[in-house]
């Protein structure tokens, strides 16, 4: 009896191990047995077995399926990433959040700032061979406005669009708007083919948005498998020059740590979310290259301006004085995220006011401010008890812990509440909180401040309202001279440093990595600054 049972067990083990060894040579996992991952070479092997050519395939991780192949209809980073290779915008932002030409090769703005004339690249073809013309641009923007796409808000100031010829589009605005160009370059801004979208019932469920997306980008759509992958192939006719890669495959990889292991094991070539704990390991390893996105994003702590305690300026001043950003950077982020100074990210010289800041830590002064404002310590030795809402994941909670200990030192007790995004939004947006850590993109234009600190702004979680700031924001929006605009934004930052609806903490840092034989990834080879960061038109695997 026993023997029989064991032989069944043995057979099972054998079957499992047979399955394990039964893969073919092309899978190449055995190549990486000793940890010497060489993804590029592995790709060479794979193609060597099948086609015999030097097929260049780049495997990129994304953390979820794109929700749509119509990037104008959704605000989804996975869709946006894939869109960078499938589609082109009129303009784009590069790896430093600067505006660069895309389908428009040049443009002029009239003196009064109302008329924008874009000159499009001649001879551009859609992936299905149809000619791209200015009518496509006009049609796309009209469709976005009609369907309330993400960009509709920015396009609402358009009064008319005209196409004098195939390669020119003239957009006239109702009022001058300095951030207009930047909004056309940023997000959900892909130009879509009129010949496929015209007359469709729903722009999110039509064929061009689901199973047959057609764009003008460097790669064409081949196929997608839910939860598994999206495959793109080279667009030989790409207007920005022939891409070197034959294929780009996005693989859905849901766990950051496993993704990192798969990257080390050569199954993934490019990861866009290196776990913070592994950054220094990769930096020290010459087999890999690493890039960092930091521009225009930062962590800041927002005060609830209606909060029982935080509505009091003295409390906010005391907290600002209790904060030591160097320590938050060193202990909360392992030094990976630099301390943030000033009231706007410093990526735009002309708009950044380096004089407006909260100054360095001064515990004694913080306590003095609280005492002067009449606060007294309770039985537990605290002037007040506050909550701090942070996102789960990332380094938010770690930064929160450092802040907690810093505020503890001046007699303010902090309870950290770690919430996933949906719950965080509900809690903070309802105004039922004291302190929160907010992050996110603050560009591409400083007009982004309108949303963050303007009265009623969508991301104004502080519920801050200052008529002077609102006036300056409105003025700066219609001023075309950059220096004049800059002066206004600098003045706003000065006001913020006095009103303190928020305090800067640390800059954002997102890490990207690839094996060192891969070149041309804009976030890693920062010299590739003439393409959108997700555009792989210049990427090469350098196989030998």
């Amino acid at each position: 009896m026993k023997r029989k049972v064991f032989s069944i067990l043995f057979a099972a083990v054998m079957a499992v191990s047979l399955a394990a060894c039964g893969g073919d040579g092309g899978s190449g996992n055995a190549d990486t047995a000793d940890g010497g991952a060489q993804p590029g070479q592995e790709a060479g092997n794979a193609s060597g077995d099948s086609a015999g050519g030097e097929e260049q395939v780049l495997i990129v991780s994304i953390n979820g399926d794109p929700t749509s192949f119509n990037p104008d209809a959704v605000t989804d980073d996975n869709a946006g990433t894939v869109a960078d290779n499938l589609y082109s915008g009129l303009l784009a932002l590069n790896n430093n959040e600067e505006i660069i030409p895309d389908l428009a090769e040049s443009w002029e703005i009239s003196e009064d700032g109302l008329t924008y004339t874009f000159h499009l690249r001649p001879g551009v073809k859609w992936h299905d061979g149809e000619a791209f013309t200015s009518e496509d641009v006009k049609f796309t923007y009209e469709m976005i406005i009609e369907n309330e796409g993400y960009l509709a808000k920015d396009l609402s100031i358009v009064s008319s669009m005209e196409c004098p010829d195939e390669n020119t589009i003239v957009i006239t605005l109702k009022e001058a708007s300095a951030p207009f160009l930047a909004s056309l370059a940023w997000y959900s801004n892909s130009i879509l083919p009129k010949h496929l979208y015209e007359g469709v019932e729903d722009w999110t469920t039509c064929e061009a948005a689901t199973t047959n997306p057609i764009g003008t980008g460097p790669f064409k759509y081949v196929e997608s498998k839910s939860g598994v992958s999206i495959t793109l192939e080279r667009n030989w006719d790409y207007f920005g020059g022939q891409p070197i890669l034959d294929k780009v495959i996005y693989v859905v990889s849901t766990d950051a740590d496993t993704t990192y292991q798969a990257f080390l094991n050569g199954e993934i070539d490019y990861i866009t979310d290196v776990p913070a704990a592994n950054v220094s390991t990769l930096e020290a390893d010459s087999a890999y290259k690493i890039g960092c996105l930091s521009a225009a994003r930062r962590y800041q702590m927002c005060f609830n301006m209606n909060g029982t305690y935080t509505k009091d300026l003295a409390v906010r001043q005391a907290i600002a004085k209790a904060i030591d950003r160097q320590e938050i950077s060193a202990k909360g982020t392992n030094g990976l995220q630099a301390p943030a100074y000033g009231f706007y990210p410093p990526f735009l010289d002309w708009a950044y006011n380096d004089q407006a800041d909260i100054g360095s830590k001064d515990t004694a002064m913080a306590v003095q401010l609280l005492e002067d404002a009449g606060y007294t310590k309770d039985a537990d030795g605290y002037y007040m008890h506050l909550t701090l809402e942070v996102f789960s994941g990332g380094t938010y909670a770690d930064c929160g812990k450092v802040i907690k200990s810093q505020l503890d030192a001046v007699g303010i007790d902090v309870t950290i509440e770690e919430l996933e995004e949906g719950a965080w939004v509900e809690k903070v947006f309802s105004g039922n909180y004291d302190l929160c850590i907010l992050a996110g993109m603050q560009g591409p234009d400083p007009d982004n401040m309108t949303n963050r600190i303007g009265t009623g702004g969508g991301l104004n979680v502080s519920f801050y309202s200052n008529a002077e700031v609102d006036d300056l924001l409105a003025q700066a929006r219609v001023t075309s001279d950059q220096e004049e605009r800059g002066a206004m934004y600098k003045q706003i930052q000065q006001i913020l440093s006095e009103d303190l609806p928020l305090v800067p903490l640390v800059e954002y840092a997102g890490y990207y990595a690839c094996p060192s034989n891969i070149t041309g990834l804009p976030y890693i080879d920062t010299s590739v600054d003439e393409l959108a960061p997700g555009n792989f038109g210049r990427v090469s695997l350098n196989l030998d």
Binding site: G28, D65, Q261, A262, M441
Partner: protein, 321 residues
């Protein structure tokens, strides 16, 4: 008997209806709403929010939303995902196979291995194999699945390089046919092992204790006294009596196979229902969530009835009137 099962099916239908209503309310009670999440974080547009709210009828009062949902459900329509521009039915359809393959295989393996090991250990409680297997079961039982998955990955994929790290397919492979299937098999080894290892202890322990208990029953002693061979006693009497509770547990586990395994699927990027459920929770994709929960509810109801049938077959003492 038939009357009894008709009654059971009737009760099951009522329970599923209650589950539908409960799910509907509970998913909406969670903080956060799908529109805010869909509108994005950096620069949400009120117009965009209004447009999606209207598109999915989220501006309607809750009872109206419920009856709309229910009316569509009666026609076999699970609704649309807010997040993916696709129907819930096709989303679940795309993921169903992968979950079934992973969870189904490991449920069967765990059942087979756990029961066999339990039978061996139970025969001689306190013996050497009992002590070894029981210790093993303790260890497996105390390991969280995602951690075990990660450890197996580190050893067999990263350190030894024998097996792929994650996913279901080798993206660099260009061959089709048999090679593809073998490749899937290779990708299955680590997640299946993880799920099997953590499920084995429950089967092992139930089998072991029921074998031990049956062996100590008086009638077994009587058989022994009459000189019946140990092998015959075991096959004819012990096995039959000891297997009943194990079958029940197996049935309960099978009922949840359709839900996949969120943690293990996430760790291994396995494209199953579990991951989809997790994404749907963070996006408050109500229809997808309700769709998955509904399928789980139906599956549980179905398997409970099935277990009753199987047990009646296995155990002549059970009679349904």
């Amino acid at each position: 008997m038939a009357k009894y099962f008709l009654k059971r099916i009737g009760t099951a239908c009522v329970i599923v209806l209650v589950v539908i209503a409960l799910n509907f309310v509970i998913v909406r009670m969670a903080p956060g709403d799908p529109v805010t999440i869909m509108a994005g974080f950096d620069n949400p547009s009120e117009e965009f929010k209004a447009a999606i709210t209207a598109k999915y009828g989220l501006d309607q009062p809750l009872p109206v939303q419920f009856f709309t949902y229910f009316a569509r459900l009666l026609q076999g329509d699970l609704g649309e995902s807010y997040y993916y521009n696709s129907t819930v039915r096709s989303l679940i359809g795309e993921r169903f196979g992968a979950s079934l393959l992973l969870s189904g295989t490991s449920a069967l393996l765990a059942f087979a291995l756990g029961t066999i090991l339990g039978l061996i250990a139970g025969q001689k409680a306190g013996g050497i194999s009992d002590r070894v297997f029981s210790t093993g079961a303790y260890i497996c039982n105390s390991m969280p699945s995602f951690w075990l998955g990660m450890m197996l990955t580190l050893v067999f994929a990263s350190r030894l390089g024998w097996l792929p790290t994650q996913g279901m397919y080798n993206m660099r492979m260009t061959q089709e046919g048999l090679a593809r299937w073998l490749d899937v098999g290779k990708h299955m080894v680590l997640p299946v092992t993880t799920l099997t290892l953590i499920q084995i202890p429950s089967y092992f322990r139930i089998t072991r204790s029921s074998v031990t208990q049956v062996l100590s029953d008086d009638y077994i002693t009587t058989f022994r006294i009459t000189g019946m061979s140990e092998g015959k006693i075991f096959r004819k009497y012990v096995l039959k009596n000891a297997i009943l509770p194990v079958v029940t547990v197996f049935g309960i586990n099978l009922a949840y196979v359709v839900a996949g395994s969120t943690l293990v699927e996430t760790v291994f990027s396995w494209p199953g229902i579990g991951i989809m459920m997790y994404t749907a929770i963070s996006n408050r994709d109500y229809n997808v969530l309700m769709g998955v929960y509904l399928i789980i509810a139906v599956s549980v109801a179905f398997f409970m009835i099935l277990i009753d049938l199987v047990c009646a077959k296995l155990d002549p003492r059970i009679r349904y009137e």
